[in-house]
Symmetry: C2
Subunit: 482 residues, 2 copies
């Protein structure tokens, strides 16, 4: 990561103040532009032109004083037009860092406006691991040009960084570690470190390697600092610290960082060779992104949506989910269609059936949420399925009797028909049992198939409990009431 330490850190309130100031400067700028444009004043009016320039200069000064991450925040919070104006004012040599910080959707909108030459200039400011993060959003010609402009070693690093699959430790990894040999004294280490202008961010430990770059252990700075300078590295290094493999899942790395409260961890390839490190900030970003992706996916948003995206972009982002739900709703509708004769004879069925379907869906979603979470935390063995099923079916049974009876009584009271109430209670209980069973089986099966148990589980359960609920309720009613 390029060094950004010279920029002040701001808390959220200060940042909001900056946002408001930038918005004011922008609106004043637009006002002047508007006047000139509408030709209410002569286009080259000297005074206005000065004011105009002054606003932009003020804006540029403000931006120059801000941390790249804060500029990224401003860009995300501004509507497209303002965003691009601000982006133009940012110093070109900071573009790279800022592009790394903004959200994917906003990054796309910024890259779209840039020329290949600009993009190449940006890319040249970045480390191989950062470049690999950016690469999927860059046009192929820029990547080709870039590869040509790099020297042999850099090219190899970039190729390596780009080769790791998304969601692997390799994709979280950077190459900014400090390594030492085990046969030197702490004194020598301290002198070696003083030759750096600055240590890489998040250096909480040095990696101890042998001549073949094989990882031998780690030397935490804490240990380095509290021990006598005459002691040798080999006597103090820790050999049982967490070591990741580049091909490990990033989720495993995240769990380990949380479990052991780590700041950094060395990464090796298949053999013991040290190839990089993962730091807690990369893990934090990964956790946040994974949580967000899940949240978005649960509401059927295909990807992160820039809140200032065009209507058309939003429609495209959301259509898949609506289409799937339309299909499942249509199926449920046809299930009802099978029983139109029954509904015609007893129209109360039409009013009561959504209750059975709805509560089934809610209950099933509770089951599925709990199980998906337990799977994610590694608490569910393959052998727990029967035990979990047992428990969930028990919960559904009890809930069915409680809520089913309540709603059965209500139906009896409303429609003065005790048999209708009884059918309602039975249907509700049965649909809750279906919901519980399917709520356990869907995520467990998805896991066995090697799929993400969270993905699509909620749509599936709602589809089952809707169609199932209508079928059970209308079916029982047809059998026993008509």
């Amino acid at each position: 990561m390029a060094e950004t330490e010279e920029f002040p850190h701001q808390d959220q309130d200060e940042l909001l103040t900056h946002l408001r100031e930038v918005q004011q400067l922008l609106s004043r700028h637009r006002l002047v532009e508007g006047l000139v444009h509408r030709q209410d004043m002569p286009r080259h009016d000297l005074v206005e032109n000065l004011v105009h320039k002054q606003h932009l200069a003020e804006l540029r000064n403000k931006l120059d004083s801000l941390h790249p991450a804060d500029i990224a925040y401003l860009l995300e919070a501004l509507p497209r037009e303002d965003r691009l104006l601000v982006w133009d004012l940012v110093k070109a040599d900071r573009d790279g860092e800022i592009l790394l910080e903004v959200s994917d959707a906003v990054r796309e909108s910024l890259i779209e406006t840039m020329e290949p030459a600009e993009l190449i200039a940006v890319a040249e400011q970045l480390d191989a691991d950062e470049l690999a993060d950016l690469a999927p959003d860059l046009p192929q010609e820029v990547i080709d040009d870039l590869f040509r402009s790099l020297d042999g070693e850099e090219r190899e690093q970039l190729r390596a960084a780009m080769s790791y699959a998304e969601g692997s430790v390799g994709a979280l990894m950077d190459f900014d570690y400090v390594s030492v040999r085990e046969d030197i004294s702490l004194e020598v280490v301290l002198r070696y470190l003083r030759r750096f202008d600055e240590l890489p961010d998040h250096t909480d430990q040095l990696f101890v390697v042998d001549r073949e770059a094989r990882l031998r252990g780690v030397l935490p700075l804490n240990v380095l600092l509290v021990n006598d300078p005459d002691v040798e590295v080999g006597d103090l290094m820790q050999t049982d610290a967490l070591t990741l493999q580049a091909s490990d899942s990033a989720n495993h790395a995240a769990t380990a960082f949380e479990r052991y409260d780590l700041v950094s961890a060395p990464v090796t390839d298949g053999t013991d060779k040290l190839v990089g490190r993962v730091t807690v900030n990369a893990v934090l970003d990964h956790i946040r992104e994974a949580a967000e992706a899940e949240q978005l996916a649960q509401a059927g948003l295909h990807e992160e949506e820039d809140i200032f995206a065009s209507i058309w972009d939003s429609v495209k982002n959301r259509w898949r989910w609506l289409a799937i739900n339309l299909i499942t709703a249509f199926i449920a509708s046809r299930v009802i269609g099978l029983f139109e004769d029954s509904i015609e004879k007893l129209v109360a069925l039409a009013a009561l059936m959504p209750i059975v379907a709805g509560i089934g869906g809610n209950s099933g979603n509770q089951t599925i949420t709990m199980i998906v979470r337990a799977i994610a935390l590694g608490q569910v063995g393959e052998d727990s399925e029967r035990r979990l099923l047992h428990k969930e079916v028990g919960v559904a049974m009890l809930n069915g009797l409680i809520w089913g009876s309540l709603i059965g009584l209500l139906a009896w009271w409303l429609y003065k028909d005790v048999r209708l109430g009884a059918v309602m209670t039975a249907a509700m209980t049965l649909n809750l049992l279906v919901a519980a069973t399917v709520g356990v089986v869907i995520p467990m099966t998805l896991r066995k198939l090697g799929r993400d148990p969270a993905m699509g589980a909620s749509v599936m359960i709602t589809a089952v409990t809707d169609s199932g609920g209508f079928f059970i309720f209308l079916g029982l009613a047809t059998l026993f009431l008509l």
Copy 2:
């Protein structure tokens, strides 16, 4: 945090192996117990007793070799009975650390089984900030005893730690920082640090304070290590690093840690006085917990649920949400009840109405998810409401025309009634417009009221789009078709 560095760090696969080994030892132990219990063999059979003891000894050895966080994982993944057996075998002096690591639900189940005297012994192993985390789960008598056993200064620290509201920076804070004066040389700092046995975890910077403990700046270890030992702290310290206030929101702290890739940050009280620090591991835990709480709340789970909880505990955890949904479903049912005459005349309405309600709910949930997220990221100003409404209404309009027309055509084809198709299209479009409007207004209003915009938003929108969808569709049908 008590020191845990001597325990090896394991990756997820190694951990699973440990889990399986523990499960095997437990089941062998149970087998022997079962035999003794069923009296198939004499209760004091020497050989069996030896085997029995040997299993437990093996289990205890295994546990002794594991990191407290890994034991916590094992406890969470084991059914209640096994969990308590393992808990008994864990060395008493590690109980405190382990209780800090386990999930709330499991912690409760463990604390329930412990005597007050044991709990006090556990509490005495912990630092004030750790104790404050545990306190809500401890019986009042233990807390009272504890306060009596502490000396004046410790008592004050604990009282302070317990006084911070959940969700504040104070609640994330610990007291394990290293502070130095600005008028000393790095040489002196290095000598000072060597007097420590070990620096606190996550010490990436020293805090520079004056005689009144007012924070003057920070000295990153990285800076300390690369500079000449003769330079003074004051010449190198950074004064614009992020400083948190104990009363700040923990979410603000989390945003700042992510934005600036921090490992630790000093915390001051209302004045400039240094009172503690926040570290990235506390922030990571906070982020994970907040994300989980939100996920659980969205499925209406009141709190984290131990997957091995009893059926009755699970029913209690889930009833609120089911009750609320039952009420909203009942209201929707009564809306349908208003139109029973219409349905009796045209039974197709019963089959088609859930489609209108369902797609409205899905679309509204997409809107609300996007807006809640944008609010959480600080991208939505108070003034953005109209702009967002504009966009969402546009999206709904377009979606209504696309999907409404499609489903209208389907209805026409199914029921050979073009007017029914037209009503379907109109109702769908209108309900999507309702969903979009309410999807923007609910979270924005919750925010203005100072409430969490995510909380309950999804229930509310589904309630509106269900009842609203039925009303719009059946109302239009009654007006134009009958």
